[in-house]
Symmetry: C2
Subunit: 189 residues, 2 copies
């Protein structure tokens, strides 16, 4: 009988993953990335981000043939015409996506086959801050709750360890919980 | 001659805006909102958020007939097959969208007609953190740079004031710079 070496787990080619990790360990400069978004205003609360190029692994990436496009909006109650998820919802998406991908990669590395990963995120906000009505509340969410449902071929305890490791390594979880310095520059001509 | 009272500026109906602000001032409980995202894993770095319901202005909102859908992915160099912007790029989009909408609303309130708002965002990240290769670098961006280009029927000084006020009131800018407490729960059965 012939034997096929199965290297793909949870949709992640673990051979490629280990190769990537080894390459970055050998040359830490390959770990430097820069991600970018270009956004343009359309009308009212409708604006659109285009996302294509980035720098990483020692070079300007050229693998994306087309740019991704993300539209933002606000519902009527927040003065928009619902042209897309609002920015706070987009932030929840970024957090959900990062925790999920981290979880899937960690599981692949730890030989856990996942069958289901779902999450629900809720963020509580008093919009009096962002609308400029009150200085006594913050502008953003006061808290975010993430509820994961995870199934796979490992005991509950191991699945929980995978989620915990994902949380500890997620880029967006780090940014949303700890904050990032942001510089804002303006050109008016 | 008849006269039309023009209440819409920058795509924002300012009469509705002032009415909303007055209503929230009169009954602060109308300012309580909860936004939500549901995410499910598809394969590898591919996962999808659906976004529809939210609570706000004293009730569960039912104005959205369809859910919004946002796909996430990673480029090949980060072990994905490029099924969507990656989570860090999604966070930059959330920040760009929020600053832009804040800017447009502030301009509408201050009687500034905008003709162009564009922004470019860059985030610097050493992926050795998120990949678990190094404990000496953080997982997320070390810094984010936002460059706005703003044009309108006001002097440069006033346009800069509008950007500054938008930054001071943006919900996502607050969250990304100051951080938010995040609880993560897991169910495995």
């Amino acid at each position: 009988m012939s034997q096929v070496l199965e290297t793909t787990r949870n949709g992640v080619d673990t051979q490629v993953m280990y190769g990537t990790l080894d390459a970055i360990k050998a040359d830490p400069s390959l770990g430097r990335f820069q991600f970018r978004v270009h956004n343009h205003w359309i009308d009212g609360a409708h604006n659109r981000s285009t996302i294509k190029g980035f720098y990483g692994a020692g070079q300007e990436d050229t693998s994306r043939a087309e740019a991704f496009s993300l539209d933002a909006g606000e519902p009527a109650v927040l003065l928009g015409v619902d042209t897309g998820p609002n920015p706070a919802e987009a932030l929840l998406h970024a957090l959900a996506a990062c925790l999920t991908t981290s979880l899937v990669y960690v599981a692949a590395a730890r030989k856990v086959r996942l069958t289901e990963v779902e999450s629900t995120l809720e963020g509580d906000m008093d919009v009096r801050g962002a609308l400029g009505v009150s200085d006594e509340v913050r502008n953003g969410f006061t808290r975010i709750r993430v509820s994961f449902k995870v199934k796979g071929d490992a005991p509950a305890e191991k699945l929980r360890e995978v989620v915990e490791r994902a949380r500890a390594r997620s880029a967006v979880y780090d940014m949303v919980t700890n904050g990032v310095p942001v510089e804002v520059g303006v050109v008016t001509d």
